[in-house]
Amino acid sequence: MMLKKLIFVAMMLTLVTSVALAEDPAWNEGGGEQDEALGLTPNLENAIEVYEVCAACHLLEGWGTKDGTFPQLAGQPASVAIKQLADIRALNRDNPTMYPFALEQSIGGAQSVADVAAYIEKLPMNPDNGKGEWAEGTPEFAKGEKLYKDNCVQCHGDHGQGDPVKFYPLIMGQHYNYMLRQFEWIRDGKRRNANPDMIKQIAEFSDDDMKAVINYVSRIPVPKELLAPSTEWRNPDYD
């Protein structure tokens, strides 16, 4: 009897806690390792060593894979990379595939996080990212463009450049399938470190809306100075 009561109390506590969490998703509490890494001066020599771990999936160029299994990291502002790495390490963002590689034992402490994030930001971007199927001139492209202007510009910027100060990611040049997956997870509450403002903003998006807007984002032209000269470019740090 006593045990049953205890179990009941435990269940209620769990319920209350999870409701509290759902109402106040810890999108960016900061603190801890994130703040520590943000305040450190990056060491790019060490970054080359650290990044080799990441390269197993994200490739030495940081371009990820065109099919969107692994996102492009190149060009992502350091603050965003620090936040996401810190979140994955602290289990605030579910990423079971990446989790072991994000751990301190694999890449090192806050200094390494700062190092690798600064390194990623400086990598030239993939000139041939994975794109949605609708080219400019199609009605789907136009629909996506409108959706983007009405819903996304305020945070992600007029050409998807993001906002490093607010930890909003750069999304131009990102692979279509990767963005589609993240967008869906954010909309459906599966990405726990999502910004609650974005969850609200896209709550009414249908699957078609989602595809249209991501198609548009995947086709925003990336400024030439941010791109690698060609798809043949290879990261010289790993010659």
Binding site: A56, C57, T69, P96, T97, M98, Y99, P100, F101, L103, S106
Partner: protein, 234 residues
């Protein structure tokens, strides 16, 4: 000098024991000793063979009938679709026993193990896992050892990011809760990869991590990978 004398003494002793055993034993005893092997015998103390008592892990391995399916050496299982468990990582082995007992892992042949592990306590599982990782199989070879680093499976093993988690040698996983896969049978590997891809096996975050990339390999590639993995020594 002193050392040499000791070696001579030792040789004499060994020879003496051996001859004693051979004259007083007879065929039956010899066979029994052979069958019972290093684990010693149930009925001994006849004066010529010193019984090595089983370690707690080895005792449990037999008492809980693990050997029935996984083999006395943990290498040659009853069916090729059973895993080679000798020298498996301790934490991974423990996690699998727990997950099979709880039912969170029930894919393929592991469903058959559920009934067998029902009465094993967590303390016993810890002892078993330690035994499996460190003692079981001794240094008997695992994996066919005929490794071709340029075979299609070997190339896939590198290009499909398998090495990132399981290690270049397929036995140095990035986390202790990830398995050593070198030397598994092709049948077992195919079953696991197929089940992880389909979601039939979804126990633990480690497995979910692998599911995230399984769309990168086709059925044919899974077979090639399995073939290669079975050649790698553990």
């Amino acid at each position: 000098m002193k050392r040499n004398l000791k070696i001579v003494q030792l040789c004499v002793l060994v020879l003496g024991v051996a001859s004693l055993a051979s004259c007083s034993g007879g065929d039956r005893e010899e066979r029994l000793t052979k069958i019972r092997g290093v684990h010693g015998a149930d009925e001994v103390g006849r004066g010529y063979v010193e019984v090595i008592p089983l370690s707690p892990g080895a005792q449990l391995y037999r008492d809980k009938t693990c050997n029935t399916c996984h083999g006395d050496d943990g290498i040659k299982g009853l069916l090729p679709s059973y895993p080679v468990i000798a020298r498996q990582g301790e934490e991974y082995a423990l996690q699998q026993m727990k997950d099979i007992q709880s039912g969170s892992r029930a894919n393929g042949q592991s469903a058959a193990m559920k009934a067998v592990v029902q009465d094993i306590t967590e303390e016993e599982m810890i002892i078993l896992a330690e035994y499996i990782a460190n003692e079981l199989g001794g240094d008997a070879p695992i994996g066919t050892g005929v490794v071709d680093p340029e075979s299609p499976g070997a190339v896939l093993f590198r290009t499909k990011t398998c090495t990132a988690c399981h290690g270049k040698d397929a036995k140095s996983p990035i986390l202790p809760t990830y398995p050593r896969i070198a030397g598994h049978t092709p049948e077992y590997v195919i079953q696991q990869m197929t089940d992880i891809k389909s979601g039939d096996r979804a126990n633990s975050m480690a497995v979910m991590g692998m599911k995230g990339i399984m769309h990168l390999v086709t059925e044919e590639e899974i077979a090639l990978l399995a073939e290669y993995i079975s050649t790698v020594p553990r």
